[in-house]
Symmetry: C2
Subunit: 400 residues, 2 copies
C-alpha cells in the first residue's frame, strides 16, 4: 500500500475544530449556538433565480466558459464603483482580484508574501481559517491580545520592535470573529501608521462590516490607505450567499498581479457563472436594500441574545456587545477554561465554540467562548441561553 510521507507544512495542521465540532451538533436535540453561517432565510433566492435565468438565457457562452484569472471585468467594475462611492476606497487601476471566497484572499496574499519561517502577526483570538492558512505556509504566528476595543495596538508596536522577519499583519477590525468587537478609530489610525512605519502589509479581513446594527458601517482602514499597505479582503458570503463562493482582494496592482499568478496555479479562475450572475444581480437589484433586510433580522437576534445573556448568565461572565456581525464573545472568570465549559454544556445539549479554537497557540485554558446569533431561531436563542445560564451557574459553583 502507498506509504506516503506528508509534507512538513501539513504536519501541524489539524482539521478545523469548528467543522469537526459541527458533527456533534448535527444531533437534532442539541441547541447550537456554535455555527458561523449566515441565516438561510436571508438568501436572496428569488433574485438569484432571476439572475441565473438571465445568465443562462443570454450569456451562457461566456458564463459557462473559463474566465480570466483576474475576474469577470463587469463585476470588477461594479465592485470598484461600490467601494469608491460608498466607502471611499479608490481603485483606479488593476487593484481588484475576484477570488473563491474571502478565504482565498488570505491564502493568496500569504503565498505571495510569506516564506516558510517568516512571522505573521495576528489578533489573538482570531479566525481559525486564517490561522490555519498561516500554519499551512509554515509561518511563525505571533498573537497580539485583543480587548473589547480590538487589537491591543500598544502590544502590536512592541511586537514590531522585537519580532524578526514580520511579513504580514492580519486583522478583522470590524465585528471581529470570534469576539464581535470593533477596533476603535484611534487604534485603526495607529495600526495604519505602524504598517507604514515598519513597511509591513496588513490584511484587513472584512466579511461582516456591512452588517452593522447600531449605526452606519464603520469606514474600512483601506479607505485611509494612501500607500498601498492595506490588503482588503471582501466577501459576498455574508451579505448574499456563501454557497456562491465569491470574495475579492483590493490591494496594490503589483501585488494583485502576483496573487493572480498564484491563483492560476491554484484553481485557474473563480466560478465564472456566479461572477456573471452577481454582476447581473448588482445591476438589477439593490444590494443595499437586501443588506438592510439582513440587518433588521440580525439586529433583532443580537438584541435578543444580549437580553437573554443579561437575564440568564452569571454576572461574573463578561461579554462583548457587538455593533454588528454574527458573534458574541464571553469571558469566564480567571482560572476557568472555555474548553471545560464547552464540554460541560455539550453534555447538557447546548453547543458553543471554546475560545481555544481561536487561540493562536490553541491554549485550552483560554477563558472565552463564542456564541452565534445568526443561525438559531429566537426560541433557540432563548432556550440555548437559558440552558447555558444553568450550565454556567453549575460550572462556576463547582469551581468555587
Amino acid at each position: 500500500m502507498l506509504d506516503f510521507k506528508c509534507s512538513d507544512r501539513m504536519k501541524t495542521l489539524k482539521p478545523s475544530t469548528i467543522r469537526e465540532m459541527l458533527k456533534y451538533t448535527s444531533d437534532p436535540t442539541v441547541i447550537s449556538l456554535a455555527g458561523g453561517n449566515p441565516s438561510a432565510d436571508l438568501f436572496p433566492a428569488k433574485e438569484l433565480h432571476e439572475a441565473a435565468k438571465d445568465v443562462l438565457e443570454n450569456s451562457a457562452a461566456v458564463a459557462l466558459q473559463y474566465g480570466i484569472t483576474e475576474g469577470y471585468p463587469p463585476l470588477i467594475k461594479l465592485i470598484r464603483e461600490r467601494h469608491k462611492t460608498k466607502y471611499g476606497i479608490d481603485t483606479p487601476g488593476d487593484e481588484i482580484l475576484i477570488t473563491h471566497g474571502g478565504q482565498q484572499v488570505i491564502d493568496l496574499a500569504t503565498k505571495c508574501l510569506v516564506n516558510e519561517g517568516d512571522t505573521v502577526i495576528s489578533e489573538n483570538p482570531s479566525f481559525i481559517g486564517a490561522l490555519n492558512t498561516f500554519r499551512s505556509f509554515r509561518a511563525n504566528i505571533v498573537g497580539i491580545p485583543m480587548d473589547y476595543e480590538g487589537m491591543r495596538i500598544d502590544l502590536l508596536e512592541k511586537a514590531l520592535k522585537t519580532e524578526k522577519n514580520v511579513k504580514l499583519i492580519y486583522t478583522i477590525p470590524t465585528f471581529q470573529n470570534p469576539m464581535g468587537v470593533t477596533m476603535s478609530g484611534e487604534r485603526r489610525k495607529r495600526l495604519y501608521e505602524l504598517a507604514v512605519q515598519y513597511n509591513i502589509p496588513v490584511i484587513e479581513d472584512s466579511p461582516y462590516f456591512e452588517l452593522s446594527y447600531s449605526g452606519p458601517p464603520v469606514t474600512p482602514i483601506k479607505a485611509m490607505d494612501t500607500t498601498g499597505h492595506i490588503i482588503y479582503a471582501g466577501s459576498f458570503s455574508k451579505v448574499i450567499s456563501p454557497g456562491i463562493r465569491l470574495g475579492y482582494a483590493i490591494a496594490p496592482a503589483e501585488l494583485i498581479a502576483k496573487m493572480t499568478v498564484a491563483k492560476q496555479g491554484e484553481d485557474v479562475c473563480t466560478n465564472q457563472f456566479f461572477m456573471v450572475a452577481i454582476a447581473k444581480y448588482l445591476e438589477k437589484y439593490s444590494l443595499d436594500e437586501h443588506i438592510q433586510e439582513c440587518i433588521s433580522a440580525y439586529r433583532k437576534k443580537r438584541d435578543y441574545m444580549l437580553e437573554c445573556i443579561d437575564k440568564y448568565f452569571d454576572k461574573r461572565v463578561a461579554h462583548t456587545e457587538p455593533g454588528g456581525g454574527l458573534f458574541i464573545w464571553c469571558d469566564l472568570p480567571e482560572g476557568c477554561s472555555g474548553t471545560e465549559l464547552w464540554k460541560f454544556a455539550l453534555e447538557r445539549k447546548v453547543a458553543c465554540v471554546p475560545g481555544a479554537t481561536f487561540d493562536v497557540k490553541a491554549d485550552p485554558s483560554n477563558r472565552g467562548f463564542r456564541l452565534n446569533f445568526s443561525l438559531p431561531t429566537m426560541e433557540e436563542i432563548d432556550n440555548g441561553c437559558r440552558i447555558m445560564g444553568e450550565c454556567l451557574k453549575e460550572f462556576l459553583n463547582k469551581k468555587d
Copy 2:
C-alpha cells in the same frame, strides 16, 4: 509606498504564457488555433437552466449555504457510482474530494506531499498549469521526454534510479495536453509497477479521457490501482462546463483527509450551488448522451484538422494523431524553434502555442507547437491550417 518583497516561491513563477498570449489573439483578425477551451456551442445550457431552477426553487437553503469541505454528499455518491460502474474505479470509503476544478487536485496533492526542494517528475512537455503549481511549491521538476506513445517509461525508470527525494509523478496519460497522445497499455502497467516499487504517488490527470473519438474511452490507470498509489484528478470542465469549476480527486482516504484540511485553509469549500445543481443534472439527464454529442462534434473537427494538416503542411513537419481530447501537436524538423515559428505565424495572423510554453525548462528551442481544434469553426480550421501551411513553407525555406 508599500515596498514588498515577494516570497521566494513566487519569484520564479511567470504569468501563464498561454493566458498572456490569448491577449494577442483577442485581435479579431487573428485566426486562433491557440485556445484550450471546450466549445461554448456544446455547453448544456438548457439542462443546467432546468437544474438551477430546481435548486433555487427546492434546495436554496442548502445550495446557497456553506457546504462541507469534502463536497456535497449526493454528488460524491454519483461520482463514486459512475466511476465504479463505467470505469472500474472502486471507492467504497472516503476516497473522493470535490474540488474547484481539476487544477485544485494538483495543487492540494502537491501541497500535501511535496516539501520545498523535493522532486516532482513530470512528462515533458506538459500542462503549464501543473508545472506552475509545482513551481509555486518550489519543487525541483524533472521532465521525462514524451514520444507519440506517451511518457518514455524507460527514461522514467532511469530517473527513479538516480533522482533524490522524488515525491510525486505527474502524468496526463490520455489525450495529453499539449501532445494529444495516449500512453500505451503496456507503459501504463509499467508506470504503475514503478510507482509501487519506488512507493511514489502518481497524479493521473484525466480531464479529457471521456472525449474519445476513435473508440470507447481508455481505462484509467486508477482502475488497476490496488495499492492507493494513483491520485486521480477528474473534472467536469471539458464534458459539462469549465465555468462551473468542478473537479474531484480520487485517492486513498488518508490522503484525501489531508487534502481536505489543506482545502479548508485555501477556500473553505467548493461552490455548493453547483455541487447541488450538478447532482440534480446527473440524476435527471444522461451525461453519457451529452458526452456523445460532444464526441460527434469534436470528432468532425479533429478529422478535418488532420485532413487540413495533410493537405497544407510541409511533410517535414511531424504531427500526432490524437484519439481524443482537444489538441494536435506538431514537431518541426531538427534545428527549428517552435517559438520562432509562432512569432512568424502570428505576424501572418494565425496563432498556435509554441512548445516552449509546455517545456519543463521553458526551452525556447523546443521544436513543437500545439494546435487546438475544439474552439475554431470548420472554416477557421481550414483557413488557419492553410495560412499555417504557407508560414511553414516560408519558414522552412528560410531555414534551408
